[in-house]
Assembly symmetry: C2
Homo-oligomer: 252 residues x 2
DNA sequence: CGCTGTATTGACCTCCTTCAAATGCGGTGG
DNA sequence: CCACCGCATTTGAAGGAGGTCAATACAGCG
């Protein structure tokens, strides 16, 4: 059940059988969490590291005015707060969007794991660096792209990530966010998300129906929004995706 | 000359004399870099870790259209890419804004350093987690705050960070960004930055003159933009700044 | 079969952008 | 010390992207 993690990390490092076994151990304490649950909320002290095995989660922060901002999507194979226990308290909330399988890993297990294999350490560092890269890309998105390209970019990125984790193979994938949540991701109003979604569908760039995203022609969508998956660092040389990203099958 | 780093890390961990000495060792290879230089550009392979000792730097990403987005400000005591050498290539550029003193630290030195003291390891993790927290706050900023509050928030944050590193004590501080760069930080047009700056000055909230920011009444500014420094994790309990942030002197 | 949450629509408003020109200012060379 | 240059700041007018409010339609579900 930690397949997603393995797939993802295989972009970073060649892991030995022992490494894989170490990582397998992490998912033993996994539990199923219903949709729409806060896993840990702003202000609490982070206790352990979490690993998403299935489903969609997110990080979010709120404003006094009641407005919210979703700052990450958490997909299968994603850790949250690898070393979060170093901090005294959470500055944001982590929640499930859909039903999820989530493993909770105590700090000791993490340190033990990392003590055992330098390759695993590198792979985990790599994972956090990719998360950082995603944040930077989101910042670029919100700052400098119009809302339609922003949405398109989010869909491209999500597909790329889901593929990298082996969760999805084709050009369409489950996408449980409501339009309101989508609005909280890209920083616009719900109404506007709705209108843009219609336009994107009209132009046959993307369709969001029945909690699924369908991308008829991925290269065209990538072109439309200027998506270049390079920042996801999905292979050792770091340039996979510079060209021909969409042509390739996910790493197997 | 690594004072800023020490100050900053003292929020995270009590460092022994030996720890401090280890960290001191980092700044031996420091060099002075003129303003407006790219230190490492998008696409290159990161070679080493960098530590800013003085001056202002930034990370930025560009769009094909020529638009840019500044995704971080780098201040004295900030590392860039602690473990960046794990990645195959840079997905963004790092540059100086003002003249800077920057230390370049080879990967071996970093690993050696971290092997020598678990407290240093924790402290460095802490620093990267704070950087992440800043990214999240910026995302919230761009997504959900109007441009005037965004600017105000940036000034509050910068003052807080400069204070935490012991670089600044009072309520005004050097701020070498041009209005164009400021626009690239908050994701609006230069013209709009200009008009908002005038308004903020008119209301005596902040003034930006002669490459300095002056905040006549910090609590009022913080109130105006909803700044709560808690996400900067500036003390062990993590709640320093929830109330009375501005009253306290920087940690000494 | 009604309830609740999500999606959709229309009208109006405003924040912010774009373009283009003008002003100011810190150097630098004469 | 002055004239000049390049860069940053400032201003105006007009347009557009996206916001707000409020009503309506729709869908899943007990």
């Amino acid at each position: 059940m930690t397949n997603a993690l393995m797939e993802k990390l295989s972009s970073a490092e060649i892991l030995t059988a022992e490494d894989r076994q170490l990582l397998e151990g992490l998912s033993t304490v996994a539990q199923r969490v219903p949709a729409g649950q806060d896993l840990i909320v702003e202000g609490e002290k982070p206790r352990h590291t979490r690993l998403f095995l299935s489903g969609y989660g997110c990080r979010y922060k709120g404003l006094a005015s009641g407005e919210r901002s979703i700052t990450s999507l958490l997909l299968p194979g994603d850790f949250c707060d690898l070393n979060g226990f170093v901090l005294g308290y959470m500055d944001h909330t982590i929640a499930t969007i859909s039903e999820c399988d989530v493993a909770e890993i105590p700090p000791e297990a993490m340190t033990a794991l990392m003590a055992d294999s330098p390759r695993v350490v590198r792979a985990l560092w790599w994972a956090t660096l990719v998360d950082d890269a995603i944040w930077r890309e989101w910042l670029l998105n919100m700052g400098r792209r119009p809302a339609d390209q922003q949405l398109a970019h989010l869909f491209c990125e999500t597909l790329a990530r889901l593929r990298a984790s082996g969760t999805v193979r084709g050009q369409d994938f489950p996408f449980p966010l409501t339009q309101e949540q989508l609005a909280d991701v890209i920083g616009v109003s719900t109404v506007h998300v709705n209108r843009i979604l219609q336009r994107l569908r009209g132009e046959e760039l993307v369709a969001l129906e029945g909690r699924r995203v369908i991308i008829p022609d991925p290269p065209r969508l990538a072109e439309f929004c200027g998506f270049d998956g390079a920042y996801l660092h999905l292979s050792q040389d770091g340039f996979w995706g510079r060209r021909g990203f969409w042509e390739k099958e996910p790493v197997s």
